[in-house]
Symmetry: C3
């Protein structure tokens, strides 16, 4: 039943947004339909990825999830990069990171904490995740500080090198967590249900979903500029909150579900793992993509974005380092998200 | 005997400062007497609050202590707000926070550590306290970063919203620590002695003490401007060190006493709890008060104040996170306080 | 055999660099030979210090190691101070701190982690070390923030006072870790082999080595300015990376050796202990030296240097606080070092 509803929603919203795009309906209506459709196609892509990962076996499947888990964000950002909207790209990366660390994690911890007095998760994994997020913050922070003294060309060089370091660090992390130290880190992994489709269908659907996300992203991005200017919203706010929330909706509901089943470890893994993937994999891939497209996006984030990412990492680290969670820690995370939302809206 | 001395001191200093005020004695003498008198009336108010809290029962009493524990600071600051001396208010809030986290905590840990090799306290409570202080720092830091891009009106809006978030977070914290997770957090609570007076007397004295603190604060604030300019002191230094130390003297001696009785947990609770109250309750209340008085104080602290609060939180967090203390950790806290004192004096 | 090679290298490089200096060979050749010679004389000085420390007995020996363990860096920096090259001094102090925390610690953790799945060390000591490094960062950070509002004279006063606070904190730390809480902190101390020489020879060699390091440093410093300008390198890069790596080569190899013997605790102690010594002892001593030479070096580091030290402390703290290490944590440390190296080179 629920599955049918999803399928209907997927087809209807996608078709509608295609019509809206090619018939040149109003910007606002196009933007709204695209947002709705993105929710569905991103969910579809996530399901297809998971299903293919299931057939790919344990290790290869883990790798697939780890690299394509944020495929929707990646594709949306890719079209933003293609249009040279680098500021919106960075804002949406920022938004995805803080959205996962504050909103998704906060809602999960709060929901789980209202049902269970205290929930526990693997402290070793949390501590490693925290160190990796610290690396990510450092790697974004340093270029911003030093960029003032660099020429355009040096900034590009620096961006490519730092992006390279991050990707290598991420690959080594996958080897560490899935090969050499798998047993130590995985006492409460994300539970994967049985795949919905056969192997062949899964692969076909993965391709189909990717294509659909691609189209949908292009249509959404096409309306963005006009939409933000019409409503007097800053691109920073739209990128960091609207787009990020839409792109992360699937993770969001999955994490809250896990928390309500008292699997807070899985919820933490989804939320933190996803922001790690954004910072250490998606961001560098976008920089390299832009390089190959001939107009390199630099890795220099604005002070506002760095502050947002920095405080998100600090508060989530402060909360996760004891390996247990309760409802009040969810409140703290959401409070910080709320404050950031307000100031980004006002700026 | 000691009690009698206190009573005599209270009456004499209060009377003297009243005379000094109404007879227009010299500024310096007025300032000095007021400082002395504040020590006594703040102590009196603290004692009366505790006594009323005793009769109010466990939960209501805890709530009373949690909200009126810093009543003296609140009242002093209130008169500063009334006179529009927003810079001194923020300096004194800063001073109260760092005074509690560095001076009060440092002296307690040092004193306790010289008597006992190692003292232990509830690591869960310390960890929650640290997360709350982190929220407070974030909530003060973000507005300062974003204020540059905001208009006056937007800054006011932001200040009110952030203040609202902080008060809600504080109220939820009281519910968390006193209702839903009381047992987990309170293995070594602050010991309250038997109340000195009957219920009725306690209430009367609470009112009397509040009135006395009110008068005394008004007199002190009245002399402040002339005093600082005469001695070439910055308002920053006077607010952050002089007034803060005077207003916190009662907590200070109580915390050191607890540490010497090997109840370092209680000392930590007094010091850290007090700075939390300042940041999450007193500061927002002052902002709302100023709003209702028609001239809203914003929540934008200076870089110097933010650095002071930030480093105080960082070092106290670094020291308290292992749940045990020794004399050297007291030295570290005091060293940071000393360095801050020197630079604030020089600036 | 290996010992003989060292002795030959020591004598040959020292003699060669003397000839190069007095015969006025080319700057590049002089610089290169001096660098090589410094490696040997610093190693010689380290060995002589350790040998004298052995005869001096447990406590006095520990004190000797703690104060003269970085004698080579101190002497090099002393000659830089004498020549008024304050910027290079600060860059080399920065480089020594981050070199120890990131390169030496990272290489040790990586090397040890590739051989052993997990290595453990004293969590109490690590936590104290982290708090001390936090004090050091704070003590360097605060002056830089406040310096903008200070006159030259006030900056000098502040520098001397902060330097005094740091030295006192360091002395108290020695008392704490070697006297009052020795037992709690030293479950895995650095292993000292039997001294190579008799007591008398050791003392003679200590004096000889000090003199040799002195000469060598003077020669090296003399070529520095011309060398950097010829190759278009910034003094920041040369000070923070080249000189720091050369001056720390002995610690570096010692720490990696320890890690490979599964004594990661000793490796951590060498790396972190050494950076603490630089920040809390060598830096203040240099400031006081410059004061007595009549031209006080201030304690105000550049933003770049502070960022480098700050991120090094944050990531090493994040990694060491769980009391265990693995190869991936070494990767993280080295990744941050690499990023810093790139940006310092580009600036």
């Amino acid at each position: 039943m629920r599955k049918n509803l999803f399928n209907i929603g997927l087809i209807v919203t996608f078709a509608l947004s295609a019509v809206a795009h090619y018939m040149h309906w109003g910007t606002t209506i196009q933007f709204a339909i695209s947002c709705l459709a993105i929710l569905f196609v991103a969910g579809f892509l996530g399901k297809a990825t998971e299903s293919v990962a299931h057939y790919a076996g344990d290790r290869m499947g883990g790798f697939l999830n780890a690299t394509f888990g944020n495929a929707a964000e990646l594709i949306i950002a890719f079209f933003l990069v293609k249009d040279g909207m680098f500021d919106v790209v960075k804002a949406s990366l920022t938004g995805a990171i803080i959205g996962n660390l504050l909103l998704v994690l906060g809602a999960s911890v709060l929901a789980g904490g209202l049902k269970f007095k205290e929930q526990n998760f693997n402290i070793k994994l949390a501590s490693h995740n925290a160190s990796l997020m610290t690396l990510a913050v450092i790697a974004l922070f340093i270029p911003a500080v030093f960029a003032k003294s660099l020429t355009q060309k040096e900034t590009t060089q620096m961006s490519l090198i730092v992006a390279g370091v991050l990707i290598v660090a991420y690959i080594l992390w996958l080897i560490f967590s899935m090969v050499t130290h798998k047993k130590e880190l995985s006492d409460q992994v994300v539970e994967h249900s049985e795949p919905a489709w056969s192997k062949r269908t899964s692969i076909l659907f993965l391709i189909l979903a990717t294509v659909m996300v691609g189209f949908e992203s292009e249509w959404l991005v096409g309306t963005l500029e006009e939409f933000t200017s019409r409503f007097g919203l800053s691109e920073l706010f739209v990128g960091a909150f609207l787009i990020a929330i839409i792109g992360n909706a699937a993770e969001h509901s999955a994490a809250v579900m896990m928390a309500l089943k008292n699997k807070i470890g899985a919820a933490v893994e989804i939320a933190v793992g996803s922001s790690l993937q954004i910072a250490l994999f998606v961001a560098p891939v976008l920089i390299f993509s832009s390089f190959f497209m001939g107009n390199t996006m630099d890795i220099v984030f604005t002070t506002y974005e760095l502050v947002a990412i920095g405080v998100a990492v600090i508060i989530s680290k402060s909360i996760s380092q004891d390996g247990s969670s309760n409802w009040y820690e969810g409140v703290l995370l959401l409070a910080v998200y709320l404050i950031l939302g307000v100031v980004f809206f006002l700026v």
